[in-house]
């Protein structure tokens, strides 16, 4: 996790300007802003939405007080565009697993991307894409990385609020297990032998999957200090083979270094 948001100057001349920028992604994280039905009109009353093409034809030039960045970097053009955005904003916040960990499209990172392109497209010579799908922080300094595939809209509002007033956002970094226990769920891994990534996954979703009788699939990415080796052993005890374990770590946050390492270790084992 990156450092806390920068402090703003004490006397804002006008409403703070927010820009929402998209790279390779599904649009879901920026949609979270529009999905905050009860809060939306309040939020737009407090800030100026200066750039948000999904919602508005108005596209104002920077500088922006806050840039919300969704998506991963997969083209040369986007690698340049993120530099430009960084130059134009005070605080840069990445929203979601693509921007924070490369997203599901980072599965190409272990494969031959040219073969991938040929598999999908009839005329691969017209496709311009990078070999790797990489998170924003591999390209520019990031002030805060908000986890999740998709992000939690309440965490987004908390983060925007905290950034604007210059305090540390209240966004915990412990595991899904903590949240699951707090909900008084019976542990599905212990009681029913269902493989669950909860012990190594960053909190924020509300322990949804275990609450729906299925194992956590890690869409919020690694927690602060995950013990993936221990969980891998536990998965083996539950009868999972190396390929299954590797796939479990290789989903929406596959390229985060902790899950990446865990997936490669289980492949080697």
């Amino acid at each position: 996790m990156s450092s806390e948001p920068k402090r703003k100057s004490a006397k804002p001349p006008s409403k703070p300007k927010i820009g929402v920028f998209k790279f390779a992604s599904c649009d879901g994280c920026q949609l979270s802003l529009l999905d905050a039905e009860d809060e939306l009109l309040g939020v737009v009353g407090a800030v100026e939405i200066a750039y948000f093409p999904e919602a508005s034809r108005t596209m104002l030039k920077g500088p922006y007080d806050i840039a919300l960045v969704e998506g991963s970097i997969t083209t040369h053009h986007d690698a340049e565009r993120i530099q430009e955005i960084r130059r134009k904003c005070k605080t840069l916040i990445t929203i979601g697993a693509c921007a924070t960990a490369g997203g599901i499209q980072a599965l190409r990172n272990w494969k031959d991307v040219d073969e991938f392109v040929r598999a999908v497209y009839a005329s691969p010579q017209f496709i311009s894409t990078l070999k790797l799908s990489t998170p924003i922080a591999e390209h520019v300094p990031v002030d805060f990385e908000l986890r999740g595939c998709p992000i939690n809209k309440y965490q987004l509002i908390e983060l925007i609020t905290a950034t604007l007033v210059g305090r540390k956002p209240n966004i915990p970094t412990y595991s899904v297990c903590m949240e699951c226990k707090r909900k008084a769920n019976v542990c599905i891994a212990v009681a029913r032998g269902i493989p669950c990534l909860g012990p190594v996954t960053h909190t924020g979703c509300g322990a949804l999957c275990p609450s729906f009788d299925r194992g956590c699939y890690g869409c919020y990415g690694p927690m602060d200090t995950p013990n993936t080796a221990s969980l891998t052993s536990q998965f083996r005890i539950l009868g999972q083979n190396d390929d299954q374990i590797s796939r479990a770590f290789r989903s929406f946050n596959a390229w985060s270094w902790q899950f990446r390492k865990a997936s490669e270790e289980s492949k080697r084992a």
């Binding site: 998209k22 790279f23 390779a24 992604s25 599904c26 649009d27 879901g28 994280c29 920026q30 949609l31 529009l34 999905d35 039905e37 009860d38 939306l40 009109l41 737009v44 939405i49 093409p53 999904e54 919602a55 508005s56 034809r57 108005t58 997969t74 083209t75 986007d78 997203g103 599901i104 499209q105 190409r108 494969k111 991307v113 991938f116 392109v117 598999a119 999908v120 497209y121 009839a122 005329s123 017209f126 496709i127 311009s128 894409t129 799908s133 595939c149 998709p150 979703c205 509300g206 949804l208 999957c209 729906f212 009788d213 299925r214 699939y217 869409c219 299954q244 796939r247 989903s251 929406f252």
Partner: protein, 432 residues
């Protein structure tokens, strides 16, 4: 901007659509010389990395193609895989899936009607600006959208990328009492949708009719979501398994896209207008009546009236959700077992913005060998260009800025979801 002997309509970033695209129309006097709907979203290569994943992962992975219609992806995926494996879902699960889809339709249609499209008709840059003059309308829109999201959240844990859909059913089915809690809000939403039909019908519609081939699912008993044959107003009547025989994609360099056509014919139209025109008789009475009251009856050929049709579908979705909740009995088991088996299966379901085709080939271990996904926006893409080629001639005498906005508005009638289409669309770096 003017060019010699003509002018160019150019929108570098198409706003109020999901995803990123650009529009380019070149006029020579009153003639349209060129139309390009350029998609510059980077490809994410879903069909490639689905290979080697277990079929049980497909609904969660393909949901990530689109944050606006994840349920459509989940439903096309589970139905295609269930057809491959020869699984029959229980009637209770079938009903639940309809409710799930209702939630997505309500959310997506409310978002599009009021927040993405209405500002065009009323002359606002966005819904935020519109809210200053029409706050009650926007508040109603948000409440409507929220009830759609609530259905999805209740059934799937969260609005975006819900986690309950599974091959064979759901991971967990809701209790009857949980669904009952939605009733009063849905009753309000039904009334609000009826008002939405009236309200949208008072907007001003450009006089623009085209002779479209409409393509949608058709089911013998109900307005279509996930089952039925694929039909058109020009005699198409096929099973999902025949889709690739009857439709073709080809590569258009300028738009960097695979565009879809009906083989031997040309572009076609998918989405609310197509569903409405081909399935009007299957709408519940309340929705039929609402449409007829505003003199909307099939065939509707004016693209711009799609905003009213979307409102009629809101009425349908609210009424259908209420029906499902009334009839719902929890299934004995939330899902049936899905054994690994070498097989191939296809399915088409009706995403809010039109038909979504999935095909999977699976091996003996349940791992995906090949996947093919054809999203609604890539199917509409050629139709969008054909429309603009025609429509721009109507605007030849208009000031450039207004003509540009009108063309954008026309594109938004399709509710294009470029994030969906992208993995299927080519990205070309134009070198001029």
């Amino acid at each position: 901007m003017s060019t010699r002997g003509g002018r160019t309509i150019k929108v570098d970033t198409l706003a109020r659509v999901e995803g990123e695209g650009a529009l380019y129309i070149k006029m020579a006097g009153e003639r349209v010389a060129d139309v390009k709907l350029r998609i510059y979203e980077p490809p994410r290569l879903f069909e490639a990395f689905l290979r080697g994943r277990h079929f049980s992962e497909a609904p969660d992975i393909t949901a990530r193609i689109c944050g606006i219609c994840p349920i459509a992806y989940q439903m096309s995926a589970v139905h295609a895989i269930e057809r491959a494996l020869g699984i029959k879902i229980s009637p209770e699960v079938r009903l639940l899936r309809r409710l799930f889809y209702c939630g997505e339709w309500i959310e997506s249609h409310a978002l599009h009607i009021y927040m993405l499209h209405a500002p065009d008709f009323l002359g606002y840059q966005d819904v935020i600006e519109m809210a200053k003059d029409h706050r009650p309308v926007v508040e109603k829109a948000l409440r409507l959208k929220k009830i759609g999201n609530r259905i999805v959240q209740l059934m799937g844990g969260r609005e975006i990328h819900p986690i309950s859909a599974a091959v064979g059913g759901f991971h967990k089915a809701p209790a009857k009492s949980q669904l009952r809690e939605l009733v009063s809000e849905l009753e309000w939403a039904l009334e609000a949708s009826l008002e939405a039909v009236k309200w949208t019908s008072t907007l001003e519609f450009p006089d623009f009719e085209q002779d479209y081939e409409f393509v949608a699912l058709r089911h013998p008993d109900e307005y279509p979501f996930s089952e039925g044959r694929l039909v058109s107003n020009r005699g198409l009547d096929i099973d999902a398994a025949e889709y690739e025989d009857r439709f073709a994609e080809f590569h258009v360099k300028h738009s960097n896209a695979l565009q879809s056509i009906v083989r031997g014919r040309g572009s076609y139209f998918v989405g609310p207008l197509a569903r409405f025109n081909l399935n009007f008789d299957k709408l519940p009475e309340v929705a039929q009546k609402a449409a007829l009251e505003v003199e909307l009856k099939p065939p509707v050929k004016n693209l711009f009236r799609s905003i009213v049709v979307r409102a009629v579908e809101l009425v349908f979705a609210c009424a259908e959700a209420l029906r499902v909740i009334r009839e719902y009995e929890p299934p004995a088991a939330p899902r049936v077992e899905a054994p690994n088996r070498r097989s191939v299966g296809q399915a088409i379901t009706e995403a809010p913005r039109g038909i979504l085709y999935h095909r999977y080939a699976i091996d003996d271990n349940g791992l995906i060998l090949t996947a093919k996904i054809v999203p609604p926006t890539s199917q509409n893409q050629k139709r969008i260009e054909d429309d603009l080629r025609e429509y721009a001639t109507h605007l030849a005498a208009w000031p450039l800025e207004e003509a540009t906005w009108k063309c954008e508005q026309a594109v938004r009638c399709y509710d294009p979801c470029i994030s969906c289409a992208t993995h299927f669309l080519k990205v070309v770096i134009e070198r001029e």
